[in-house]
Symmetry: C2
Subunit: 357 residues, 2 copies
């Protein structure tokens, strides 16, 4: 690994109490180039632009996939990643489906640790704060031919992230648009999946909904995901979430929620959720909670659901009554080293990893 430190660090002007999530970038980034059938050296370099032609295949043919993960700082200043091996496995699953080369553990896990260690000062401390980290791979070859590229860039960039707290949202059950096809790329974190969701989401926003609950494209009778999160439904005291499939992303937060719910003895059913079952439960009062889970906000609680032109209200539960918020706290406490970690999910980022590698 080559470390080229910034001669112009911006950290001294970073205000952890006042920054914009998503476009405040830490001082460094990881890059690694793929050419002639192999990955080159992993480099940590100052964050910034690189030269790319508009003929770059990544933007022409969408050969691009990414990950989203976080690093957390505890009250003693120790820094942790959360289940990074899951993201490592998933980026390679995405890469395979998009006919891109797999990344190595040295690039992904090694790159993450080196970057987070070097820029640990950028990780804001306190309730809900974190560093949002974006590993990605995209085709860099310049060619106007719709075929598998021969050159790629793997990169890791990162931005400080604020509190995950979000107010309850209204969501719309999709009856027309969809994000996944059978035999498609819905299970992958393929760049193109996200762009495809923007317009339908914008239309939903105009109708007064923050997000869409995606349903299967063939019948719109089954739940898939919600926005860019996996979805959970609680009927009486049982939690339901659809099984992962080629159409549903295998979320790290989803998996963690399932394990945490089981630990608490909550009944969990991983099975298809029919829109009809859901609506019936809302009407007969057995529907208690619906929420989305993902790395970005951990949990997004839904307060109302749009279906067939109607806006159905959901019960408002206290923090204690809510499975969503109880499990969220369980998870955050582990992520931020405020609780035991019986699952072995936390990964400490050692200081000066680079020098010991």
């Amino acid at each position: 690994m080559i470390i080229q430190k910034s001669t112009n660090p911006r950290i001294s002007s970073f205000d952890p109490n006042n920054f914009a999530f998503g476009n405040t970038f830490i001082d460094h980034m990881v890059i690694c180039e793929y050419e002639n059938g192999k990955w080159g050296e992993v480099k940590v370099v100052p964050y910034g632009p690189l030269p790319f032609s508009p003929a770059m295949m990544g933007v022409n043919y969408g050969q691009a996939c990414f990950e989203g993960m976080k690093a957390y700082k505890d009250k003693d200043g120790q820094v942790f990643l959360f289940r990074p091996e899951k993201n490592f496995a998933r980026i390679n699953k995405s890469a395979e489906r998009l006919a891109m080369p797999a990344v190595t553990e040295e690039m992904f896990i090694g790159g993450l640790k080196a970057l987070v260690d070097l820029d640990r000062a950028w990780i804001p401390e306190g309730e809900g704060m974190s560093l949002y980290i974006r590993p990605l791979i995209f085709a860099t070859e310049e060619a106007l031919k719709a075929r598998i590229a021969n050159k790629y860039l793997f990169a890791i960039v990162a931005t400080p992230a604020k509190s995950y707290y979000t107010a309850p949202v209204s969501v719309k059950i999709s009856d027309y648009y969809s994000r996944s096809a059978n035999g498609g790329v819905g299970f992958a974190k393929a760049a193109g999946n996200y762009a495809a969701s923007f317009y339908p989401t914008q239309l939903a926003n105009e109708e007064g909904y923050e997000q869409i609950i995606w349903t299967d494209d063939s019948t719109h009778e089954y739940f898939e995901e919600s926005g860019t999160m996996n979805v959970f439904v609680r009927i009486n005291d049982t939690i339901y979430t659809p099984p992962t499939s080629e159409k549903i992303l295998d979320g790290v937060t989803r998996d963690s929620f399932l394990q945490l719910a089981k630990r608490r003895g909550i009944e969990v059913k991983v099975e298809p959720i029919a829109v009809k079952t859901f609506i019936d439960a809302q009407r007969n009062g057995t529907l208690k909670e619906v929420w989305g889970v993902g790395t970005a906000v951990v949990t997004s609680v839904f307060q109302s659901v749009g279906y067939n032109g109607e806006k159905l209200e959901l019960p408002r539960l206290s923090n204690e009554e809510s499975f969503a918020l109880t499990l969220q706290k369980d998870l955050v406490d582990i992520q931020t080293n405020q609780a035991e970690d019986p699952f072995g999910w936390r990964v400490l980022v050692e200081k000066n990893v680079m020098e010991t590698v």
Copy 2:
């Protein structure tokens, strides 16, 4: 429009008899930046890299769409575009679905004409030769948030193209993978659609097929497209092609073939093609021809079709017997100014457009 000519043109080293299609770039490109809610000035500049960060939204979220079109040089050296207004309309349809800003006629048609005029020396002459032109739009904003971007680049790049002649190919009818979802982005030239097709195509290649005939993702019982082309089937003396829809790209070549077929009095039916009808026709000998159409190769004739593990052979017709090749010739003759153009499809690229603009 700002024209900044290359001080280092490569045209003198371009050998029209020996070049690589797709990664030989002409001396210039068009660029235009979108920011603060509007497009800036259209510029013709030397082809080359621009600075982009790996946090660029175009490669993170796939907000990117493109067009593919050609310029042809006739025997007198006159240069023509083919139905550019169709591509202009289509890029804006794609852009709308991907929540990107529409481009203006000045940017698209004006940019095309200026670029093709300036680099007309790069257009190879002779049978089947052309300039392949790639207008595209992609999100350039640096942000790690899955939302509609605020900054975009519109660009036009181009590469000389060789003879469209291609040997007959074997294609596989997809029984698992798909390229389009109901309520998805299949009708758009969305970057992500192409990356999604690479892996299934690679698997088909390994089974001995050059391309995939995509079928609907819900049942795999109906034809959609073939590779990156629209598909035509001839049973007895009637031509069939599926109607365009949100799942099928509205191809310029497809539309031109339909008009040319009607002019010749060939019976044309724009209706869904069931795999079963197709297979039955192959078995009872009424299936005469199957082919794909698109700007790149105009026509790709299929010699065999894989279905259910079987490789079904198709008849080999002479150029005179073949509707595919007859219509291909009709089209190419119009494109290259070797025949009358009753449809008004050719658009002459005037010399020194820039100075008269």
